[in-house]
């Protein structure tokens, strides 16, 4: 039953809290509150010594619940849950009250007000612990198989990693052959490795692993179930001699999304695009790839002597594609080095906003400078103008050079390369709809946290890697896809996964089967089932439920509660907050 012998610890956080909140007064004012057995002040609650002291008190005093008023639970919720567990308590009978971010740091000018607010928050915390019950994480058994959507360099590499872990891997590719953007490239920066043969060697490895199945011309059309046990349908387009598409049902424990991105295609007329002699970075790389053994650079049969590159086309825009595409500076400069090597007499002008050859890729930039490439910096407020073919002349690029006091330059060019970035693929929408994955403002799939949880999504068991998450170069795509593979592997190899127990519960005695909660749930976690007598009743799939709570207020019968956040507990917490 509920906790009746509660220990309350109010933290000074050095002076972070106690400089602005009268912590002694907080402790005094909650002594005697129902259920509180002891209350005291800690210097640093998170320190080892304070934790040991609290564990000793819990055991000596026979405490059955605790409240710690300190920092944000984002920082130390798990620290203190683990401490409670070490002291023999159920970790869910611990409540953390945030009096640092919510009191001392926000009300530095008002000590009395901050102290009063802290007292009220602590009272609510005491009520939370008083009405808490021991809870246990939900344990879900996981299937040792995984679906990888997209067989570019990241998806292929992730599939091999998962296959080598001994997991069953289903690898889907929408196109008729795997490889993605890298698969057709002859020279990848920074080493000049042949993309085609890199992909071939990955495919060979995949064919030797019996537990990987590769489906080409295939797309994901349906997903049911949840982490550990998804049921998915894939559609395989008809091959020669077949007259209809196959639909294959698969059961997997996790899903990796490595669907990639696609090069930006400029609008007709954007920097003269569409006219002869004006090409995108991709088209220029194709041109270099198709003439590897040539001694010079030829465009439509004519020798090219002057190349002008315009950077950030379709990237870092004021509206639309506001992001930096990361790979394009390095890729264009690497291509210009190939040109310098093939024919040193070709003049190359790089019109840029900022050169972002980060990390060791800086060496490429240094080499290009050294070999005579000329870098001309323009302001985003006055982008270069491209004039093509007036009066039978060639292409002229006009630009104001920030490094020569904004002098206007006129550059005659045989070829203009628009250094284009990456944008989300149109086909990504299907995957987004089937998996219900959120996308960011740039249109790429969103991770939970860019630094701490970079490959996990809000849909448990679904991971993202490579350019599906945002523009990356080949190396970074492989890195993040392997990260996603490792995360998927960690839950599948363990054979089970633990989920937070905060899920919705239906009081069958109160539910009248109206179905409003089914509509309200954004995760499709509630369905309408039947009681033994045939009457309708809401049923919660605890593996899909996020405990987000949209169902609770819409229920006219108050038949739904989130476990650990029952109606009585919430009401008591509100009463605690309102007590003078």
């Amino acid at each position: 039953m509920a906790s009746q012998k509660i220990g309350v610890f109010v933290c000074r956080c050095g002076g972070n809290i106690s400089d602005y909140v009268d912590v002694e007064k907080v402790v005094e004012s909650i002594k005697g509150v129902e259920g509180v057995k002891i209350a005291r002040v800690n210097m640093f609650s998170c320190s080892d010594s304070a934790q040991e002291e609290m564990i000793g008190l819990i055991k000596r005093e026979g405490l059955d619940g605790i409240v710690i008023a300190s920092c944000s639970p984002k920082l130390h919720l798990n620290t203190f849950r683990q401490m409670a567990q070490r002291a023999g308590l159920n970790p869910y009978q611990y409540t953390q009250v945030n009096i640092r971010e919510q009191c001392s740091w926000t009300h530095t000018h008002d000590r009395d007000g901050a102290t009063q607010k802290a007292t009220r928050l602590v009272r609510a915390g005491i009520e939370a612990t008083r009405h808490s019950e021991p809870l246990h994480p939900i344990e879900v058994v996981t299937r040792p198989s995984v679906l990888v959507v997209g067989a570019g360099i990241g998806g292929l590499r992730a599939a091999i990693a998962l296959g080598e872990m001994g997991l069953t891997v289903h690898l889907l590719e929408k196109a008729d052959r795997p490889g993605g953007l890298v698969g057709t490239r002859k020279a990848l920066f920074p080493t000049g490795a042949d993309g085609t043969s890199e992909i071939d060697s990955l495919l060979q490895r995949i064919h030797t692993l019996q537990n990987i199945s590769l489906y080409t011309n295939a797309s994901l059309v349906k997903k049911e179930g949840s982490i550990g046990d998804f049921s998915v349908s894939i559609r395989v387009e008809p091959k020669d001699g077949q007259d209809r598409a196959d639909t294959i049902q698969l059961n997997v424990g996790a899903i990796l999304v490595t669907t990639g991105a696609t090069p930006y295609v400029p609008k007709e007329g954007e920097y003269g695009y569409g006219a002869k002699g004006i090409v995108t970075l991709r088209e220029f790389l194709d041109l270099l790839d198709s003439s590897r053994d040539s001694d010079g650079i030829y465009y439509e049969g004519k020798r090219v002597r002057r190349i002008t590159y315009i950077y950030c086309v379709g990237s870092r825009q004021k509206e639309g594609h506001t992001y930096c595409s990361r790979f394009c500076c390095s890729s264009a400069i690497f291509a210009s080095l190939e040109v310098h090597k093939r024919s040193p007499d070709v003049l190359q002008y790089h019109l840029y906003r900022d050169i972002r050859t980060y990390g060791s890729l800086e060496a490429l930039y240094q080499r290009a400078l050294d070999q005579g490439s000329l870098f001309i910096r323009f302001s985003p407020d006055s982008p270069p103008k491209v004039e093509c073919g007036h009066n039978g002349g060639g292409i002229k690029v006009l630009v104001k050079d920030l490094l020569t006091s904004k002098r206007e330059l006129e550059i005659s060019s045989d070829l203009v390369v628009l250094v284009t970035g990456l944008v989300p693929r149109v086909e990504q929408q299907e995957v987004q709809d089937v998996l219900k994955l959120p996308v960011g403002i740039d249109g790429f799939f969103n991770e939970i946290h860019p630094k701490l949880r970079p490959v996990e999504t809000v849909v448990a068991g679904v991971y993202i890697g490579g350019c599906a998450q945002g523009p990356k170069n080949a190396q970074e795509s492989v890195e993040s896809s392997l990260g996603a593979a490792a995360k998927a592997g960690s839950i599948l190899l363990k054979g089970k996964v633990e989920l937070e127990p905060f899920v919705a519960e239906v009081d069958e005695g109160l539910c009248d089967g109206c179905g409003q909660c089914v509509e309200a749930c954004p995760y499709d976690a509630i369905t309408m089932g039947q009681r033994s007598d045939g009457t309708p009743v809401a049923v919660v799939n605890t593996r899909l439920c996020k405990g987000e709570g949209a169902c609770v207020p819409v229920c006219p019968k108050e038949a739904l509660e989130i476990r650990g956040y029952g109606h009585e507990k919430i009401r008591s917490m509100i009463r605690g907050l309102l007590t003078e």
């Binding site: 003049l347 002008y349 240094q366 400078l369 050294d370 070999q371 005579g372 490439s373 000329l374 870098f375 910096r377 050079d401 490094l403 020569t404 006091s405 002098r407 206007e408 330059l409 006129e410 550059i411 005659s412």
Partner: protein
């Protein structure tokens, strides 16, 4: 308006090692110059690289005022041979403009 061309660079390279394209326009040379002229190595070299011979002619007083002290060269993060480049430009001006 400067019509960008490689005539000056080609001419300079035929005379010796002109390595100013390594410059990434940080401005260290300008900041360190003891003569403190209004235009200094960084910008002179850019005009040369862009093929703006008239700009060099306009600035010949500055170009010939350089002490060749190599304070800038010692501190150039890119290792540009600044004094050597200045001499090459002087040679070009001597011949083309002053007819020496």
């Amino acid at each position: 308006m400067i019509k960008v061309n490689d005539s000056v660079v080609r001419e300079l390279r035929s005379r010796g090692r002109f390595d100013a394209s390594k410059c990434f326009s940080c401005g260290t040379c300008t900041a360190l110059c003891p003569v403190g002229l209004p235009i200094l190595p960084r910008e002179i070299f850019r005009y040369a690289l862009l093929g703006a011979q008239e700009e060099l002619i306009k600035r010949q007083d500055e170009i010939f005022s350089c002490l060749l002290c190599r304070m800038c060269e010692e501190n150039c993060p890119e290792g540009v041979g600044i004094s050597g480049n200045i001499r090459l430009i002087r040679g070009l001006l001597n011949e083309k403009v002053l007819g020496l």
